[in-house]
Symmetry: C2
């Protein structure tokens, strides 16, 4: 197995005044630019394309290395020559989501109509809107049918939505650690994170950019809390235990335990790379997501492989079983595997034994 | 079964310049006032006293009704004539914790030495310091040996600490939904809540009172997040499901789902009754709590009854089993029951079948 070398993020304009993107809500975006990367080569038959859909805080840079960077793409362990998503065989496409903040049009982008950032005027998105932009990108790249679409967490939700929207475009769908409908508890966690941002005094009704500030406090707390839900109690215990800076009776209110420093670091570094309004706009569509209700009679020709992780308590296996049962009820080919992994929801980004083989064998 | 009628919170000064409270850290409090309530009558032998220890956000008002109030004390379902903690038989004492904000000296109290609020100068507390004040209160009331000490969550931790500190003062200990050592994940949740408060721009290094403000945003978010961990996914789903204000494509970023309004209400109402520094000072001792290590050779004469709830994922049954095993290893009489309850950690405040009977039968 090799690795992908240097890659560059590309950009393309996929909606214009003449060909605007009409969102599910009816709102219209007259300028949509998309950041994407590709790995491998599209074959002559144009039938070897695999679309990778990223999770909440991902971006287009799924694999390989940016010039001058040290950190490889977020799914580099899965995508590459000889890897589970084999770039010697497949043409892999990865795009930053609509509403994001890593190159694709989102709340922090300039609205050409006004010359100012969209800010709080950015329209509310639906899972179908994420997919609509993916579809335009494939059209732009001249790809009709996908060999496969692969996604974890929010990425898996896009794959599911897409297969129900275009029941004949995707041959194989790999849906990892995802959900077809959030639980009330899922929505509750999401609500707290959003409250942390929306009610931060520096949010200014979403016009923080105009004030030259950002709701850093709220976004940091949102990320810290979310992070706790992405990992498992077991992995936190093994990684940090009760180790701390002080000892004996030397105690303090401020961060002392290693796990506290770790969460602080997670929160701080998130501020460097993420926009608060994007966080709101990318989380909210998950709360409303209910694709089987939205597409009651669709029977996709897609074959599905579902993967969940036994330590994932954010989207536990029950979520995958509900997707499986809904697909089976429609006569869709689907299998599901619960992979044993100590790392909680974040397992989809890691390599617990058996996981990557499930992807590799399914892509055929 | 009857109920307790009108009660009044009383106050007593338990530490003075001449008889200061020396904390575990070595810090000294020269003035400690304690708010407490009592229910029932202390018998002549003074051997029918039951001390009730409150949880993180509780107060002295455990049972009965304050004149003019509508809401009864937080453990009124457990304490009263003919109830599990029977005030026809027992003299029940309930005191607000040191560091609290409901009548007992805490960070928001005036320091008589300076004439200003303690604020960030309030010393860091230890579980033993909470107990030290309880001990002084009993001495003041002329109570030697306790018939029982009863507490849930942080309250149970005080009971455990106390029994190890004074191994011959408590006949029976009821420790509900508690822990003898937080997990790394427990500390992680606590760390996020504290970061929300400590890093709120209105915290002002703890001198918010002097600035005439309060870290309302951080305290509200801390409470909202904590609340999600106090209940169960099942109870949230049954109570709120996916009910929302909008319908169809009418969606929004702001609170829409009923569970969001509920959490908003929980957060807002908490601001009316709780102080941010108290929240920090009452949560932090839990992170450091490790009483079996702190008292390695103590064998209490106390008999223990431990109760946990099957849906409690904040302090799951494993915590109670660890307490049981540690006590058994020391030859202490202990039993443990996992009560079936749908309401998560908050079950200790409610009446899942069998729970109150376990308390009643143990108090004998």
């Amino acid at each position: 197995m090799g690795t992908i070398g240097y890659v560059e993020t590309q950009r393309v304009v996929l909606a214009t005044e003449c060909d605007p993107l009409v969102l599910t809500s009816g709102a219209v975006l007259e300028h949509v630019e998309v950041a994407y990367e590709t790995y491998g080569v599209l074959n002559e038959a144009r039938d070897n394309a695999v679309m990778v859909c990223h999770a909440l805080t991902g971006d287009a840079h799924a694999a390989g290395l940016h010039l001058g960077a040290k950190k490889r793409g977020w799914w580099d362990n899965l995508i590459g020559p000889g890897k589970a998503v084999d770039t010697d065989r497949f043409f892999v496409v990865s795009a930053n989501l609509l509403g994001g903040c890593s190159g694709t049009t989102g709340p922090a982008s300039i609205d050409p109509a006004t010359g100012r950032v969209h800010g709080p005027d950015f329209p509310l998105l639906d899972m179908a809107d994420f997919v609509a932009v993916h579809r335009r990108l494939l059209d732009h790249l001249g790809i009709g049918r996908l060999h496969a679409a692969v996604g974890g967490s929010l990425g898996g939700m896009q794959v599911l939505e897409w297969a129900l929207e275009e029941p004949d475009r995707i041959d194989r769908a790999v849906v990892v650690a995802a959900s077809s409908r959030l639980t009330t508890e899922n929505i509750a966690f999401s609500a707290v994170a959003r409250a942390a941002i929306l009610e931060d005094p520096d949010f200014h009704g979403g016009r923080y950019a105009e004030h030259g500030v950002a709701p850093r406090h709220g976004l940091k707390v949102a990320r810290m809390m979310a992070h706790v839900t992405y990992v498992s109690g077991q992995s936190l215990a093994e990684k940090f235990g009760h180790a701390r800076d002080t000892s004996g009776t030397g105690k303090r209110l401020a961060a002392d335990f290693e796990v506290e420093h770790y969460l602080q670091h997670q929160g701080e570094s998130f501020l460097q790379r993420f926009d608060a309004l994007s966080y709101l706009h990318l989380t909210r569509p998950m709360d409303y997501f209910d694709p089987f209700a939205a597409h009651p009679d669709v029977v996709p020709s897609t074959r599905f492989r579902l993967v969940s992780f036994d330590s994932d308590w954010r989207f536990p296996t029950a979520h995958s079983l509900r997707i499986r049962d809904q697909l089976l009820a429609r006569g869709v080919a689907v299998d599901h595997t619960e992979v044993v992994s100590p790392w909680g929801h974040d397992s989809f980004l890691l390599e617990p034994p058996g996981y990557h083989d499930l992807v590799r064998s399914f892509l055929g």
